[in-house]
């Protein structure tokens, strides 16, 4: 890559990494290596984030993530985690319907009632 391109990519870097071509080239190349790697890592990171969001959504209804997904698989519902997390944020009623389907598919879900337990504890304390 020529100098102009390097400096264009080095905008916003700190110290000499934005002014001096020797340092800037080093830092830009390293940055491009990181971005190559992180385009792959992004897929893992997002999946982890979606799982956390689904877990937060299902626990409002007293089901944990693992049991929820198990119920969905039993019912052959093939929504992926990206869609499920978006539903849990923006379509709470549809998400509740999914939780209900999952709960009836996997009766083990029925015993878990976390929100009410928490409420009871706060009452006692």
């Amino acid at each position: 890559m020529n100098k102009d391109k390097i400096f264009k990519l080095a905008k916003g870097f700190r110290g000499r990494a934005k002014n001096c071509i020797r340092v800037a080239r080093e830092r830009v190349e390293k940055a491009l290596q990181y971005s190559y790697r992180d385009r792959r890592n992004k897929k893992r990171d997002m999946r982890g984030l979606w799982i956390q969001r689904i877990n937060a959504g299902t626990r409002l209804h007293g089901v944990n993530y693992g049991n929820f997904m198990h119920g969905l698989i039993k019912e052959n519902i093939q929504l992926n985690r990206k869609v499920l997390s978006e539903l849990s944020m923006h379509e709470p009623y549809s998400f509740k319907a999914l939780v209900d389907v999952s709960r009836s598919a996997f009766p083990g879900n029925k015993t878990v009632i976390t929100p009410s337990e928490k409420k009871g504890l706060s009452m006692l304390v």
């Binding site: 491009l32 290596q33 519902i77 929504l79 992926n80 869609v83 978006e86 009623y93 509740k96 319907a97």
Partner: protein, 198 residues
């Protein structure tokens, strides 16, 4: 999920004579039944009072190159189908789609601009009062869309480097994509619904 995600074909009512695109896969039989269901209930809606149930009315199409039949229906029921959304599989990726909005998906090969697409792999349909959960798909449900643009994603610099080996590659890449505008969601009404109490 099979690789046969969608089937393109120009709609029979298009005014301009676009050549029919060769479908990669044979159109499933459900399409035929679906077309009947589209043509039969739509006059119903017009003859009934305009205050039919919200969930059953398709959204007003925004694209100006719509056939007259559907456009008339849309103007009648404009903004009635609000709140309807669907989860649809396009190219083995799942998208939440709303009528009237556009989404950018992976390049649909063989589709031309202004082609009409019918997407059959609908996993879930939600309206204000009911949710239709497909196991795994909502049978007969279809999402109608229009191809707006065959474009390219922003450029990605693919820089490969191995230290001490004298190996470096600098390649630019722009992933082809397709922008489609969702015009309506139909055909899901007969599927068993999960109705919400609240």
């Amino acid at each position: 999920m099979a690789a046969t995600a969608l089937s393109f074909f120009t709609s029979p009512t298009t005014p301009k004579p676009t050549p029919p695109i060769t479908t990669k896969t044979p159109i499933p039989r459900t399409n035929l039944t679906f077309f009947n269901s589209l043509s039969s209930p739509s006059p119903h809606k017009l003859t009934f009072s305009p205050l039919v149930t919200r969930s059953s009315t398709p959204e007003a199409p925004v694209i100006e190159s719509e056939p007259a039949q559907i456009a008339k229906l849309g103007s009648e029921d404009a903004l009635k189908g609000e709140g309807v959304f669907a989860v649809v599989v396009i190219g083995s990726r799942q998208y939440i789609v709303f009528p009237g909005r556009f989404i950018t998906v992976q390049r649909l090969k063989g589709a031309n601009v202004d082609d009409k697409i019918i997407l059959n792999k609908v996993l879930l349909v939600g309206s204000k009062t009911t949710t239709y959960i497909g196991k795994p798909i909502v049978t007969n449900a279809a999402v109608h869309a229009v191809v707006e643009d065959q474009g390219l994603d922003p450029k990605v610099i693919v820089f490969k480097y191995k230290k001490k080996k004298g190996y470096r590659r600098n390649i630019g890449h722009r992933q082809p994509n397709t922008r489609i505008r969702i015009t309506g969601i139909t055909g899901y009404q007969n599927y068993p619904a999960v109705t919400l109490d609240s």
